[in-house]
Point group: C3
């Protein structure tokens, strides 16, 4: 059972798609097994994070924007891959630090997420993008 | 084959639970397949790290404590999610940077860890917590 | 279906081995399922990153070398695990921040990587090493 999720982004921040994933698991009759999500880009990440307070998502973006400043900032002049804009190489760096893929055990058709855990795509680029995440569910053996 | 590991924590540091995982694999007669562990919290991480020298674990904690200072420090005043204490938002940030889940191939009933690799929960909060990690083993197909 | 990939390294940088993985999937007749790669060391990482422009790989190395300086630098004197050289503890720190394992859905015998995604071992140590990554492919159930 394979699928692909599309997430439209408009600038760097977190985009939740927990419900899309839950709906797909329902549609394909998933009962017990392992869910894998993998982002098919090297300038965006996947994240399991708190979905209770939107401040958490804003602060996550604010922190990583400071940890990896744009390539046109004085302290980042050592970067050489700058042809695609000052936000491109920092996006690759964040994509290396943050998860490419997520893996969630499924029991009785439900993802075993904690109470406050949601599934996000973390966009690192400034321009709008259409992002794709491969989805895969493998059933436990009978 | 699903389970849940409980790890009691008393402050931010690494807690090894390699032996609990090995014992569970033995108990359920796992032979060949893929083990998945997923922490069900957004303020703690899982880590595969060196278990030979405890200094490694102390240094890991020391490094990340400096990379992501408490929210009441002058350089962190841009954080807004501070109602749950100065260690809360830094814990979410560390949980974004460090692994949510671990995945270890199993052959002949043994995890294919390297010689010095151990499995840890990395607690990021100051107060004691009871942490839960979902465990899942999927057998290879015959 | 289990294997082990060997990657010879000569200093800290990214080493691509996408083609080795693709060849192994072909050799074992993999059709549809989930590929897992896990590095069996705590001072090297695995990475899915852009393989179009080698500058991206150089910049990734340059960034992480600055984020985690050698242990003999003034700002790193708090590190205690220094017996194995100034590059050892920083290597463990980078190995904690960057992926231990990669997971790629496979359809029709092909990894579902994005257009520009390649598979790399990221060596963090200065001395030459022979690195091992466990490979595992699990077929979807019929």
């Amino acid at each position: 059972m394979h699928t692909e999720f599309e997430i439209e982004t408009r600038g760097p921040r977190l985009y939740e798609f927990t419900q899309d994933v839950a709906a797909w698991l329902r549609d394909c009759g998933a009962v017990s097994g392992l869910l894998t999500l993998m982002v098919r880009h090297t300038s965006a990440s996947l994240l399991i994070q708190e979905n209770a307070d939107a401040d958490v998502q804003r602060d996550l973006h604010a922190y990583f924007a400071r940890l990896v400043p744009p390539a046109d900032r004085p302290e980042m002049t050592y970067l050489t891959h700058t042809a695609e804009g000052p936000d491109d190489m920092p996006a690759h760096i964040k994509a290396a630090m943050l998860p490419v893929s997520l893996h969630i055990p499924v029991i009785d058709g439900h993802m075993r997420l904690g109470t406050w855990q949601g599934i996000y795509l973390f966009e690192h680029r400034t321009a709008p993008h259409r992002r794709r995440a491969a989805g895969h569910f493998m059933s436990d053996r009978a």
